[in-house]
């Protein structure tokens, strides 16, 4: 039973991950300013990677499971730090907000 269903489950998880990653790349390519691109890319890429790594856990060898858990934990730990430092750098260099209804409450960017 599970031997029949497992390839379809792995297929579904990989396709789900690819759809979310595609949304992230679309946002990174077309959103108008850097802050919105950071918002799209940092959240959606990790959320898309998690189903793919889960599929690798289900279909790959059991020896890879600790490494996959380590990769997932490191991703969940490091990507928020990276996006925060990137947004801070964009703010320090005064990159403008380009979306039509953006509000800069600090008044430092404009």
């Amino acid at each position: 039973m599970s031997g029949v269903l497992l390839p379809w489950l792995v297929d579904g998880l990989v396709i789900l991950g690819l759809v979310v990653i595609t949304a992230a790349v679309y946002g990174l390519l077309w959103l108008p300013d850097a802050y919105m691109a950071i918002h799209a890319a940092s959240k959606a890429t990790v959320l898309g990677l998690c189903p793919i790594l889960l599929a690798a856990m289900l279909a790959g060898s059991p020896a890879g499971i600790p490494r996959l858990l380590l990769v997932t934990a490191l991703l969940l730990l490091t990507v928020p730090i990276t996006s925060h430092v990137l947004a801070l750098a964009a703010y320090q260099r005064k990159e403008p907000m380009r979306s039509p209804d953006a509000v800069d409450e600090s008044g430092r960017l404009s």
């Binding site: 390839p7 792995v10 297929d11 990989v14 396709i15 991950g17 690819l18 990653i21 595609t22 992230a24 790349v25 990174l28 390519l29 300013d33 850097a34 691109a37 950071i38 890319a41 940092s42 890429t45 990790v46 898309g48 990677l49 793919i52 790594l53 599929a55 690798a56 279909a59 790959g60 060898s61 020896a63 890879g64 490494r67 996959l68 380590l70 990769v71 490191l74 991703l75 490091t78 990507v79 730090i81 990276t82 996006s83 430092v85 990137l86 801070l88 750098a89 964009a90 703010y91 320090q92 260099r93 990159e95």
Partner: protein, 89 residues
């Protein structure tokens, strides 16, 4: 995992990587450039994860583990250098 899904997924990830690579070359904002390079390394991790579903020994995962840490350090250094002008005090 069925082989047709395997190859279609790898090809789709390659197309997304090409689109991101053109974005890296064409953009005017350094923040967006650093972010696109970081996302490229994450796409490479997804590529290695899909490879690991068909691989018995699991060696793509060693590469993925290294790539997470190297991508983190590299993006952090680039972002701090862009924002503050130096990496460490």
């Amino acid at each position: 995992m069925h082989m047709i899904t395997f190859y279609i997924a790898l090809g789709w990830l390659g197309l997304l990587s090409c689109a991101l690579l053109f974005r890296v070359l064409r953009t005017h904002s350094p923040t967006r450039r650093i972010l696109a390079i970081d996302t490229l390394s994450l796409l490479l991790i997804a590529f290695l994860g899909i490879l690991a579903t068909e691989e018995e020994r699991g060696f793509p995962l060693d590469v993925a583990l290294l790539l997470v840490l190297l991508g983190f350090a590299g993006t952090l250094a680039a972002a701090r250098y862009y924002g503050e002008g130096h990496v460490l005090e």
